[in-house]
């Protein structure tokens, strides 16, 4: 099978810096134009039948990519199974709703606070539970997600089952207003956040925290023996992932202008986890691809509305059976040193030379 990931990575590695920058800029520009991609007759297949295509790009597509990238830090990078990720999304959304309706703070000011509260929740949950392993951690995080939802549902001072309506839209930037009529503007904001998270994860991955997470994921006992302070880095991973979820929650609340507890069910956690595993755990581009497909596809087939979840489930089973490591799995060895890379290049060149000689000789 053609290995797209390795081909892409090879191409990227062979390029020099200006080429890389130019390619990245073109791609980012293309992504920013996505809200208008459904406008032409030959691309009208992109348009979603019920909800407007531009709105779909913000929620669920953009939000799910953002959250899947956040969860990828926890599940993909450090190998901690978190089944309650929706809790951080909910904390972010409710921070935006409560502060947005009861104080005069605007959404841009609330955004870091939402991230902060989610992060705090991540640390508070992490300190006692990250000592647990594997599936115990999974069930405790699942419980945490449910606790947050039920607590919100039963607290009447924050709306109870009715939620909080009238969450303000963010104030405009550069004359671009944010409201329900302009989903494209929200999409651009979400893309900026996604780009920031991708940049952050790529930076972290090749530095000390990333190496510590990789060590913890591969074998925690060995990591401890090598002197990695595992608990500290696990809490870091947890709280950074939580902050991303919180940020997604704030933007979600201000775009939908309404938060209600029934949005934050266990199913959302499962769906985001599916995005991560389906796309390819630990690989940023895999996660982005997985989240895009799993969030866009159910909306695209909404015309068979009642059966679309069924099709979604079937797609999960079939894809996982055909590609068990996800669509774009991570490379087996992610970080080669410069010397190793040079050596690999030399070896490849030598192999080419040898093949040439060989074919020449056989003639």
């Amino acid at each position: 099978m053609l290995n797209l990931r390795d081909k892409g990575a090879q191409l990227w590695e062979d390029w020099n810096r200006p080429k890389r920058v130019a390619f990245a800029l073109i791609m980012i520009f293309g992504v920013f134009l996505l809200p208008y991609a459904g406008d032409f007759s030959f691309t009208s297949i992109l348009n979603t039948p019920i909800a407007s295509y531009q709105a779909i790009l913000v929620y669920p597509v953009g939000m799910y990519i953002l959250m899947a990238l956040g969860l990828n830090i926890v599940v993909g990078k450090s190998g901690l199974l978190d089944l309650g990720y929706v809790a951080f999304f909910a904390i972010g959304a409710y921070t935006a709703a409560i502060l947005g309706t009861k104080t005069t703070l605007n959404i841009w000011e609330i955004l870091p606070m939402g991230m902060g509260f989610a992060m705090l929740a991540g640390v508070l949950l992490g300190i006692p539970t990250l000592r647990l392993r594997g599936d115990y951690l999974a069930i405790v995080t699942l419980g945490f997600g449910e606790i947050v939802r039920i607590a919100v549902l039963n607290t009447n001072s924050i709306g109870g089952p009715n939620g909080i309506p009238g969450v303000p839209n963010p104030p405009s930037i550069l004359g671009q207003s944010f409201d329900l009529a302009n989903p494209a503007h929200f999409f651009w904001i979400v893309v900026v956040m996604i780009l920031f998270v991708i940049w952050m994860v790529r930076r972290l991955s090749i530095r000390r925290p990333g190496r510590a997470w990789e060590a913890i994921r591969q074998d925690e006992d060995v990591a401890i023996l090598m002197g990695v302070p595992t608990l500290r880095y696990k809490i870091w991973s947890f709280s950074i992932g939580a902050a991303v979820g919180g940020a997604a929650g704030v933007i979600f609340a201000s775009q939908q202008m309404l938060v209600a507890p029934q949005t934050f069910t266990f199913n959302v956690s499962v769906l985001i986890l599916s995005c991560v595993v389906f796309g390819g755990m630990g690989n940023i581009w895999g996660v982005v691809l997985g989240a895009t497909i799993l969030s866009y596809f159910p909306e695209r087939i909404r015309f068979i509305s009642s059966a679309r979840q069924l099709v979604f489930g079937l797609a999960l089973i079939i894809t996982m059976n055909l590609r068990p490591d996800g669509l774009l799995p991570r490379k087996k060895r992610e970080h080669l040193s410069l010397e190793e890379r040079e050596a690999a290049k030399a070896a490849k060149a030598a192999l080419k030379q040898a093949k040439k000689l060989n074919s020449g000789a056989s003639k």
């Binding site: 392993r133 599936d135 069924l310 089973i317």
Partner: protein, 317 residues
Amino acid sequence: MNFSVVQSQFFPLLINGLALGFIYVLISVGYTMVYGVLRLINFANSEIFMLGTFATIIVSRTVFKFDINSQPSHGMKLLIVLLCCLLAAMLTSGVVAVLVELVAYRRLRSRGTNRLGSLISAIGTSIVLSEGVRLLTHSLPESSPRVLSKFYIFTIHGVGLRIDQFLVIISGALFFFAVDRFVKLTRIGKAIRAVSMSEENSRLMGINLNRVISITFLVGGLVTGAAAFLYETVYETTVFNVGFNLGIAAFTAAVLGGIGNLRGAFYGGLTLGLAEEFFSAVLGTQWKEVTVFVVLVLVLLVRPNGLFGEAIQQSRV
């Protein structure tokens, strides 16, 4: 907070808690057995349970022509109806469990990939099953016709034991005892225990891994089906997502007792059933799930391997 209710309603709460607890015990047996051999949460177990409840209703409605107005039956006929419903539920759940293993786990396992891959395919299977039933039932709850008239066996000081609760407690204990003996005493039970100890070594000893895993799913499914039948005799209603909350609670029970350990499922299920009844009496039913999870977190903090878990994995405190 209403503590006086615990005093005044102690025995009714105790009986309700035991009945719920035994249903949890049987469902968590399904989780804990699969976890024992595969080290995986069987996410489709809640749907296996759900299909069992529907099988019970379908048999009592179509085969025995019970409907919402018909009188509960007595004597020999009652026994036959109950046994047939029980068998139907067990067979349905057992067969579905084996199919789930074939579809969601086998191919992925043979390719030796990461655990989360099969977790997602199990989630996919669970979505397909529950959505399929949702489409067939148009998302409506189905009520089960009353086959067993609910009389009190005896009453002491105004505290009664209802026949259906009695049935659940007795047959729950019997089923658990049977599974426990099966795993402890039979040859295939020994193979199951060997696989859960070490997959590699048991394969070296000539154990047919696929067969053992299939049988584990079958036994887990049969017991889950029995739980579904008992659930229907007490609560008499079902819906396409009935398994969701029960499944989470039963899995919590399995973890509470120490997952992978049958006896743990027993104590965990009973603890959880009783805790749910008493906490919801004191705090109000809307906090039921929260208190359960809080109890779980507290227990895991003190005993990271569950109440009765063996210290196989070293805890890290």
